[in-house]
């Protein structure tokens, strides 16, 4: 089980959380003007990196707030959590 640190509540069991998938996907500003392929890309296409990933998580059985988490998809190592709207922290394998 992962021990995830909610930015508000601190370390909690993974079972208290809901994972919302890849973070920082911006909704297109004018959906009706969008070609189908671009809309499909927004709705369905996600990165699937083998390595560090920024994900959205929600503390479902706690404060019920969404936040972002930097997690390694192979080792499950968690590099940190940050609030929605906060500046993007560099991934651990990126040069800051």
């Amino acid at each position: 089980m992962l021990l995830i640190s909610c930015p508000w509540c601190g370390p909690r069991d993974e079972t208290e959380f809901h994972c919302g998938g890849e973070a920082h996907i911006a909704r297109p500003l004018d959906p009706p003007a969008l070609p189908d392929a671009a809309w499909a890309g927004y709705v369905f296409m996600r990165d699937n990196p083998k390595g560090w990933m920024r994900e959205r998580w929600m503390h479902a059985q706690g404060c019920r707030r969404w936040f972002n988490l930097v997690r390694h998809t192979v080792t499950h190592e968690i590099a940190g959590a940050y609030l929605v709207g906060a500046p993007l922290p560099p991934l651990p394998d990126e040069c800051p």
């Binding site: 508000w8 509540c9 601190g10 370390p11 909690r12 069991d13 079972t15 208290e16 059985q61 706690g62 404060c63 019920r64 707030r65």
Partner: protein, 198 residues
């Protein structure tokens, strides 16, 4: 006489009373009025003045004054526990104080039932079904947490160093959780086995 009302836990009253022992005492909390307040940070001080009770801004903390408590549920969400008779007037006071702002003050008194668990083994009992670190260095009187106990979402509040915990649970889960707690306490009532228990 505490207001016990009629709740889904009534049929378990005798079992709950019989479960308690020296190490861990389980009881039903009297029915308490509950007001859920959603409001932005700019409204915290206004609401505090209207309530005459400062809302905690530090996560997972409780502010109390005698018969009332303000429980942190989220960065813009609080639960105010107060006598049932004061709910309507409190909601009205909040609505007047925060008028024009973006907020909600709602009577949610029927949303949760309270159980109290206290005694030297209370932490041990909760630890059977709760992943939270309840050690005194991590969880102290005045702390609260929304978490899972026996897989049931609960609101846990530590009241004193006995320790006494309040466990608030959705009424539909209350019977299950009360039965689970009765079962979790049961082993504490066993007589020690000479030679095995020291």
């Amino acid at each position: 006489m505490a207001d016990r009302g009629t709740t889904i836990l009534d049929p378990l009253a005798a079992a709950i009373a019989a479960a308690s022992c020296e190490e861990a005492r389980l009881s039903r909390l009297p029915l308490v009025g509950q007001v859920t307040l959603r409001a932005g940070r700019d409204a915290v001080s206004l609401a505090g003045v209207a309530l005459d009770l400062a809302l905690p801004t530090e996560p997972n903390r409780v502010a109390s004054d005698g018969g009332r408590a303000a429980v942190w549920l989220g960065p813009d969400e609080w639960l105010i526990l107060l006598p049932r008779g004061d709910v309507a007037s409190t909601v009205a006071r909040l609505e007047m104080a925060l008028d024009g702002g973006h907020f909600a003050a709602v009577d949610t008194s029927a949303a949760r039932l309270g159980l109290a668990l206290s005694g030297p083994a209370a932490r041990q009992v909760l630890a059977k079904g709760c992943g939270l670190d309840l050690h005194p260095r991590a969880f102290a009187p005045g702390d609260c947490a929304q978490t899972a106990l026996a897989r049931v979402p609960v609101l846990l509040v530590q009241r004193d160093e006995a320790p006494t915990f309040w466990v608030f649970v959705r009424p539909s889960y209350a019977v299950f959780l009360a039965r689970w707690l009765i079962d979790a306490i049961a082993e504490l009532r066993l007589a020690p086995i000479p030679g095995l228990d020291t």
